[in-house]
């Protein structure tokens, strides 16, 4: 069965770029949303194998989304945060909330793809 991946990122060029990259590496079926609200609805409607999310988005931040997935929906979906804000406190908070992996921008799409591959294989 193909893996379902959700990309939450308000920068559309960036998110389509990630989509291209993951598609190219044949990592699964990829859906994109541009804000926290749509992401929440998608996550409520169906199961995903992986979420890749920015922190700063309209409606809900990536952190809030992560919190919802873990607490409200009680799911252990793999969750990668991809953020320009790499402050120590932010990273620690994310891991506290149960993030699977944390990448800071600038990031290399190749590296992201490798990490995704390993997460999905596990």
């Amino acid at each position: 069965m193909e893996n379902r991946i959700l990309i939450c990122e308000d920068d559309e060029v960036l998110s389509s770029m990630i989509q291209f990259k993951l598609n190219k590496d044949k990592l699964g079926n990829i859906e994109r949303v541009t804000n926290g609200k749509d992401a929440r609805e998608k996550l409520l409607a169906g199961d995903f194998d992986l979420v890749i999310s920015d922190i700063h988005m309209p409606f809900f931040s990536g952190m809030q989304l992560l919190e919802m997935v873990r607490k409200e929906m009680n799911k252990d979906t793999a969750f990668i945060i991809l953020s320009a804000e790499g402050l120590e406190s932010t990273v620690l908070e994310a891991f506290d909330l149960g993030v699977t992996d944390f990448l800071t921008k600038p990031f290399s799409p190749g590296e992201l793809s490798m990490r995704v591959k390993r997460l999905l294989a596990a």
């Binding site: 989509q19 290399s108 799409p109 190749g110």
Partner: protein, 359 residues
């Protein structure tokens, strides 16, 4: 004068003519502004529709440029497509440029190289350089910013020129650009003769993340700079790059500086955990009546942590000033001292701090 004004008011006919003239003037001005508003709206709408048409396709092209290898067909096709699009108008050129600049900040590795290459191939670098020749400061500044974000190190000299520009914001932009581009990122500090405000300090510091210490100047050399904000900035940079070798100079500053500066210095020493400074700071704290100094000193004692500071903390734990008391309690907790059973107020403070230190 009153009389003549009074006469004028009394001359009804003249007044009515004046009223009429001004009414017409304001009416015409309002209509003119209204048409300007409508023209601007129509222009905006037109721009929007152009963008809507061009955007989805370009988005795809831009994404491909970052992902596809530089010698692949996809990369070349995308470049060709963007080139053609950019021939349409300057607006489109600016859009593409803005997007490339924006994505460049998100990416590293091969994708970034791809974008930097596209910046050159699409002749966007020339476009940015051309902006430097503009007479409008904001255009020049945006050109500088583009070159900075696209990491065009060879433009250092051209940007350096603007350190002495007439416009304050342009000078600031140039300084920031040099902080990220120049081989010696902070050597401009020596020539700064105006305030480097907190926002600018923050931006400069942000640009220095990950830079190696050897290319940076000896910050202690600026401790006696004529511009107080530069002094403060240098101190914070000494802390940021863990320059323990500057501790003696910092201690010297304690003796000479103004009160505000002393606070900054104590905070810096605290972050550098400079136990050598304990004696000097203790003396300062007992002699001064400047509250922020006392607070900073207590924080220092709590942070550097050693038994010598006990009597100072003990003294201030009953100070009249709440903030001083708070800092003293805070320091006491960090040093594992126990004053808690003395009175109610202190006990509550204790409980508060313990609770918040844990969380």
């Amino acid at each position: 004068m009153m009389a003549s004004i009074y006469d004028m008011i009394k001359d009804e006919d003249a007044m009515i003519v004046a009223f009429a003239l001004f009414s017409i003037l304001f009416c015409l001005l309002s209509l003119a502004l209204l048409s300007l508003i409508i023209i601007s709206k129509i222009k905006r709408n037109k721009n929007e529709s152009v963008k809507n048409e061009f955007w989805p396709k370009s988005q795809k092209a831009l994404a491909l440029i970052t992902i596809a290898p530089m010698d692949s067909m996809e990369y070349k096709k995308s470049i060709f497509f963007l080139k053609k699009m950019m021939e349409q108008s300057r607006k489109v050129v600016q859009w593409v440029l803005d997007e490339i600049v924006k994505q460049q900040a998100n990416l590293s590795g091969e994708s970034k190289t791809n974008l930097l290459q596209a910046y050159k191939v699409l002749k966007l670098k020339e476009y940015s350089l051309k902006k430097l020749k503009s007479r409008r400061w904001n255009v020049v500044a945006s050109g500088i910013q583009e070159l900075e974000r696209m990491e065009q190190h060879d433009c250092e000299q051209r940007i350096r020129k603007f350190l002495h520009a007439k416009n304050k914001d342009l000078r600031k932009t140039a300084r920031l650009a040099l902080a990220s581009l120049a081989e010696k990122p902070l050597d401009f500090l020596e020539h700064v003769r105006e305030e480097v405000n907190e926002w600018e300090q923050m931006s400069i510091k942000y640009r220095l993340r990950g830079k190696r210490k050897d290319n940076l100047p000896d910050f202690s050399g600026y401790y006696l700079h004529s511009e107080p904000s530069v002094v403060r900035f240098s101190i914070s940079m000494s802390v940021y790059f863990n320059c323990f070798e500057h501790i003696p100079q910092l201690i010297d500053l304690l003796a000479t500086g103004a009160e505000d500066l002393q606070v900054t210095v104590i905070e810096a020493l605290s972050k550098l955990e400079a136990f050598q400074a304990i004696e000097a700071i203790e003396t300062l704290a007992s002699e001064t009546d400047h509250q922020p100094i006392v607070c900073a000193a207590l924080k220092f004692l709590g942070n550097v942590g050693c038994s010598e500071g006990h009597h100072v903390i003990e003294r201030f734990i009953h100070d009249e000033d709440v903030e001083v008391r708070m800092e003293a309690v805070n320091a006491a907790i960090r040093l594992d001292l126990d004053f808690s059973d003395e009175n109610n107020d202190l006990r509550r403070m204790y409980a508060h701090h313990q609770n918040h230190l844990i969380s």
